[in-house]
C-alpha cells in the first residue's frame, strides 16, 4: 500500500532530485567537456566554441599524440608499473595474509605487530626521500615497485578474510601431506579471490594515480616520469604550442606541429588519456571498490 503523495512530499522529491541531478552533473560534466573538446574540430576548440556538444568529429588528436615520444614513454611507464605493482601486491598480500593465519608460525604475534604498527606512524616525506636515496632507488624504476609490494592494510584484510574460511579444507589437505605453498596455491588462493579482486582494483588505481614518487624520486630521469607527472608538466607550461612541444619532448616530429594541434587541445587530450582508464574501468569494478572500504571499516 502506498500513501497518496501530499504536496509537501512532491515538493520534497522535486527538490531532492534536483539537488542530486545537479551534483551528478557537476561531477561528470567536466569529463564530458574534456572529451568533446578532444574530438571536435581543433580550430573551433581554440576559439572556445565547443562547449556543450562536439562539432566536426575526428580522432586525429589521439593518433598524433602517440608520436610524441615522452608521452608514449610516460604512458608505458604508468601502464607497466600499474600491471607489475598490482600483480605483486596481490600475490604478496594473499601469501602473507595466509601465513599470518598459521598458528605454527614462529613468533607469529611479534611479526604481525611488527607490520601493523607501521600503519600508525610515518617518518615524513624528507626521511622517505633520503632513505630511498640511501637504498639507491632514486632515478630507478624499482622505486615504483618495491615499496608497494607489502601493504599492511591489504594483509590485514586478507588475514581476516581467510580466518573466516572454514578450516576443514586446509586441514584435510595438510593431513594428505600437502606443503604450505601447495595449500596456498590450490585452496587458499581460489577461495580468497573476492578479497584479492578488491585489493587488485585498489592497487591498480593507486599505481595509476601515483604522482609524488615520480616527482620526488625521478628528477634526473625524465624517461621514468609517470603519465600523471607528465600531465602536470604539460598543464603548467606555456600556451605556446611550439614552446610546449620543444620544452617537453625531444622526438616530436614536424608532422605533428604541422597539423592543426594547439596547446589547449594537447593538454586536454593528455588529461583525457590519463582519465580514460579510470572512467572506463570504474563503473564495472565499483562493487569491488565498495567491498574494500566496507571490510576496512569492519576492521577499523
Amino acid at each position: 500500500m502506498r500513501h497518496r503523495q501530499s504536496i509537501g512530499d512532491r515538493f520534497f522529491h522535486v527538490l531532492n532530485h534536483s539537488f542530486f541531478i545537479l551534483f551528478t552533473l557537476v561531477c561528470i560534466f567536466p569529463f564530458y567537456y574534456l572529451f568533446i573538446n578532444t574530438i571536435s574540430s581543433n580550430d573551433l576548440v581554440r576559439k572556445g566554441l565547443v562547449n556543450f556538444w562536439p562539432i566536426g568529429l575526428h580522432l586525429d588528436n589521439y593518433i598524433k599524440l602517440t608520436g610524441v615520444g615522452d608521452l608514449t614513454n610516460a604512458f608505458l611507464v604508468s601502464l607497466s608499473r600499474t600491471a607489475l605493482g598490482t600483480i605483486l601486491t596481490v600475490a604478496a598480500s594473499g601469501f602473507i595474509g595466509y601465513i599470518m593465519t598459521k598458528r605454527e608460525l614462529w613468533r607469529r604475534k611479534v611479526w604481525y605487530r611488527f607490520m601493523v604498527v607501521t600503519m600508525y606512524f610515518n617518518a615524513g616525506i624528507i626521511p622517505w626521500f633520503t632513505n630511498m636515496q640511501m637504498l639507491g632507488l632514486t632515478n630507478n624504476y624499482l622505486a615504483y615497485i618495491l615499496p608497494g609490494i607489502v601493504n599492511v592494510f591489504n594483509i590485514i584484510m586478507v588475514k581476516t578474510y581467510i580466518e573466516s574460511i572454514p578450516k576443514e579444507l586446509e586441514e584435510s589437505a595438510e593431513i594428505d601431506g600437502a606443503s604450505v605453498l601447495l595449500i596456498f596455491r590450490r585452496i587458499i588462493w581460489p577461495l580468497s579471490k573476492p578479497i584479492l579482486a578488491t585489493i587488485a582494483v585498489w592497487s591498480a588505481v593507486l599505481n595509476w594515480n601515483s604522482f609524488v614518487d615520480s616527482l620526488v624520486l625521478m628528477s634526473a630521469k625524465p624517461q621514468l616520469y609517470t603519465l600523471q607527472h607528465r600531465l602536470w608538466i604539460y598543464l603548467n607550461t606555456t600556451n605556446n604550442l611550439q614552446a610546449l612541444m620543444s620544452t617537453n619532448t625531444t622526438t616530436v616530429s614536424a608532422a605533428i606541429l604541422e597539423g592543426a594541434l594547439n596547446a589547449k587541445v594537447v593538454k586536454y587530450t593528455i588529461a583525457m588519456v590519463t582519465a580514460i582508464p579510470i572512467l572506463i574501468v570504474y563503473p564495472f569494478m565499483q562493487r569491488y571498490f565498495e567491498q574494500g572500504i566496507m571490510l576496512g571499516a569492519v576492521k577499523g
Binding site: H13, F20, F23, T24, V26, C27, Y33, L34, N37, L49, N51, A92, I96, K102, E104, L105, W106, R107, W111, F114, M115, T118, N122, A123, G124, I125, I126, P127, W128, T130, N131, Q133, M134, G136, L146, P147, I149, V150, L181, V205, W208, N209, S210, F211, V212, Q228, H229, W232, L235, N239, K267, A271, T274, A275, Y282, Q286, E290, I293, M294, G300
Partner: protein, 487 residues
C-alpha cells in the same frame, strides 16, 4: 649415575644453542655489511662513489668505476686493479650470501644444520678470500697511484668483514666438531614453524626497509647537512635546528602562517564532515533503486582520479581558455576571458570545495551501507505514530549513523596536521602561494625544492610525533566515551 650425564648433555646443548645464536648474529652482521655504503670495503679510493655499497660494487662494474673515467683512460688507475676489486667484491658477496643460506639452514633438523654449517664455513672462507683480493688491490693501488690524481682510502670495512668471516668460520667448524653425526638415512627437513618464518622473512625485510629504516633519516635534523655532503662529527650540531626553529624570526613567521593554513583547512574539513552523512540520508530518500545506483556511481568517480587530474578538470573549466570563460564571453556577459585559478581570494574555501567535489560521493558510501542495515520496522512504527519524513530522519536515521560518524570524526581530528600535499601542490601558483602552504607542502618545498634537509626533516619529525600523539589521544577518548578503540 644418569643425572650427571644428563646435566652434561644439557650443558652441551645450551653451549651449542648459544654458539648457534652467535653464528646467526655474525652472519646477519655480514649480510648488513653488504648494504652499508659507509663501510664499503671496496671503496679503496675516494673516486669510488661514497653511496656505493659492497653489493653494488660487486655486481655493477659500471657503478663502481662511474666517477673515474678519465683516471682509467689515462692509466692513472689501472683497469686491472679495479677489475680485481670488482671480482673480489663479487666473490665476497657470493660468499656472504652462501653464509646467509647456511644460517637459514641452521633452523632445520640435524642433517640440515650440518649442511648449514658447511655452507657457513665455506661461505665465510670465500668471503674472506674476496676481502684478501680487495686488500691486494689496495696494496697494488698504493704502489703506483699518484696522490695528486686521487686519494687512496683505508677502508675499515675490510678488517670488519674479515673479522666477521673468521668468527663465522670458527663457529661453524666448532659446531661441526661438537655435534654428533646425524643418523644415516635421516633426511634434511625444516620445521613448519621455521619454514613459514623463512617464507615470511623477505617480506619482513621489505617492511623494515621501507617503513622502519626511514626513521633512521630523522638523524639529519641533528646535523648541519647540505645535499651532497656527509654526516660527520664535524657537522653534528645537536639541537641547533630545534632552537633555530623557535628563535629565527623568518622561520617562526613561516611556521605560524603554515600552521594557520593547515588548521584552517583541516578545521573546515571537520566542520563539514557531516555532509557525507546528509548526502547519504537524502540519497536514500530517492525511491528508484536504479536512479540511486546511477547517482552513486557517477558521484564517486571523482574520488578515483588523481589530484593532478582534478587540477586538469579545474583547468578546463576555470582557466582563461576554459569552459566558463568561453560561455560567458560568447554570451556577452564578460568582456574579457578570466583565469579564475589565479589570485589568492577564498583559497581555503576553494580547496574545501574541490575536496568536496572529489570526496563527497565516496565518503557517503559507508553511511549508505549503514542506512540499508537499519531495521525497517523502526520506520514503520514511527510512521504509525505519526512521524513525518524529517522526524524519521532526525530521530531514527541520524542516531543510527552517529557511531560511524564519531569514529570518522575522531580519525579526522587525529589527522588534523596531515592534509596531504598533492592537492595544494597542483593548485598552487605564483599568485596564491601564501594561503595555499599547508604543513606537508611546506616541508616538501623546504626539503626537496630548496634542499634544506635538516630543518625540513625536523619539522616533519615533530609533525609525525604530534600526529601519533593525537591518534592515541583520539583513541583514548574513544575508549572512554564509546568503550571501544578506533585503531
Amino acid at each position: 649415575m644418569r643425572s650427571p650425564e644428563k646435566a652434561n648433555l644439557t650443558l652441551k646443548s645450551v653451549g651449542a644453542g648459544s654458539l648457534e645464536i652467535l653464528f646467526r648474529v655474525a652472519v646477519i652482521l655480514l649480510f648488513v655489511m653488504l648494504f652499508v655504503p659507509g663501510a664499503n670495503p671496496a671503496r679503496i679510493v675516494d673516486k669510488v662513489n661514497r653511496n656505493l655499497s659492497l653489493f653494488t660494487s660487486g655486481f655493477f662494474y659500471r657503478d663502481l668505476v662511474a666517477d673515474m673515467g678519465r683516471l682509467l683512460d689515462k692509466g692513472w688507475i689501472r683497469k686491472g686493479t679495479m677489475l680485481l676489486v670488482y671480482f673480489s667484491s663479487m666473490t665476497a658477496c657470493l660468499g656472504i650470501l652462501a653464509a646467509v643460506a647456511g644460517a637459514c639452514m641452521s633452523l632445520g633438523n640435524a642433517p640440515l644444520k650440518r649442511l648449514g654449517r658447511l655452507f657457513g664455513a665455506g661461505g665465510g672462507a670465500i668471503a674472506a678470500l674476496g676481502m684478501l683480493g680487495v686488500s691486494r688491490a689496495h696494496a697494488e693501488l698504493l704502489s703506483y697511484l699518484d696522490l695528486e690524481k686521487a686519494k687512496p682510502l683505508e677502508p675499515s670495512g675490510i678488517s670488519v668483514v674479515l673479522g666477521l668471516c673468521a668468527i663465522v668460520i670458527a663457529l661453524s667448524l666448532l659446531a661441526l666438531a661438537l655435534s654428533p653425526a646425524p643418523a644415516k638415512g635421516e633426511r634434511a627437513r625444516l620445521d613448519t614453524r621455521m619454514e613459514l618464518f623463512l617464507l615470511l622473512l623477505p617480506f619482513l625485510l621489505l617492511v623494515f626497509l621501507f617503513c622502519y629504516l626511514p626513521l633512521w633519516g630523522w638523524r639529519y635534523s641533528f646535523y648541519d647537512y647540505h645535499p651532497g655532503g656527509t654526516l660527520s662529527k664535524e657537522s653534528f650540531v645537536g639541537f641547533k635546528w630545534f632552537v633555530f626553529l623557535f628563535q629565527n624570526d623568518a622561520t617562526v613567521r613561516d611556521i605560524v602562517r603554515v600552521l594557520k593554513n593547515t588548521l584552517a583547512m583541516s578545521g573546515l574539513g571537520i566542520l563539514t564532515s557531516w555532509c557525507p552523512m546528509a548526502f547519504a540520508i537524502f540519497l536514500s530518500e530517492v525511491r528508484s533503486v536504479r536512479v540511486r545506483r546511477i547517482i552513486q556511481t557517477l558521484t564517486t568517480i571523482p574520488n578515483f582520479i588523481s589530484w593532478v587530474l582534478v587540477y586538469a578538470v579545474a583547468f578546463c573549466i576555470f582557466s582563461t581558455d576554459g569552459f566558463l570563460s568561453s560561455v560567458m564571453v560568447n554570451a556577452g556577459l564578460w568582456a574579457n576571458r578570466k583565469n579564475l585559478l589565479m589570485g589568492d581570494q577564498h583559497i581555503w574555501l576553494k580547496m574545501l570545495a574541490w575536496g568536496m567535489w572529489k570526496g563527497l560521493g565516496w565518503s557517503a558510501i559507508m553511511y549508505i551501507a549503514a542506512i540499508t542495515g537499519i531495521d525497517q520496522q523502526l520506520y514503520e512504527a514511527a510512521t504509525v505514530d505519526g512521524a513525518g519524513r524529517f522526524q524519521r530522519m532526525w530521530h531514527i536515521t541520524v542516531p543510527e549513523l552517529i557511531p560511524t560518524y564519531m569514529v570518522l570524526l575522531l580519525l579526522s581530528v587525529a589527522g588534523i596536521l596531515s592534509n596531504g600535499m598533492e592537492q595544494y601542490l597542483v593548485f598552487e601558483n605564483a599568485s596564491n602561494t601564501n594561503p595555499m602552504a599547508v604543513l606537508d607542502l611546506f616541508v616538501y618545498k623546504l626539503g626537496i625544492d630548496k634542499g634544506v634537509i635538516p630543518l625540513s626533516t625536523l619539522v616533519g619529525m615533530v609533525k609525525s610525533l604530534v600526529s601519533v600523539a593525537l591518534l592515541f589521544g583520539a583513541n583514548a577518548i574513544s575508549k572512554l566515551v564509546r568503550g571501544s578503540s578506533i585503531v
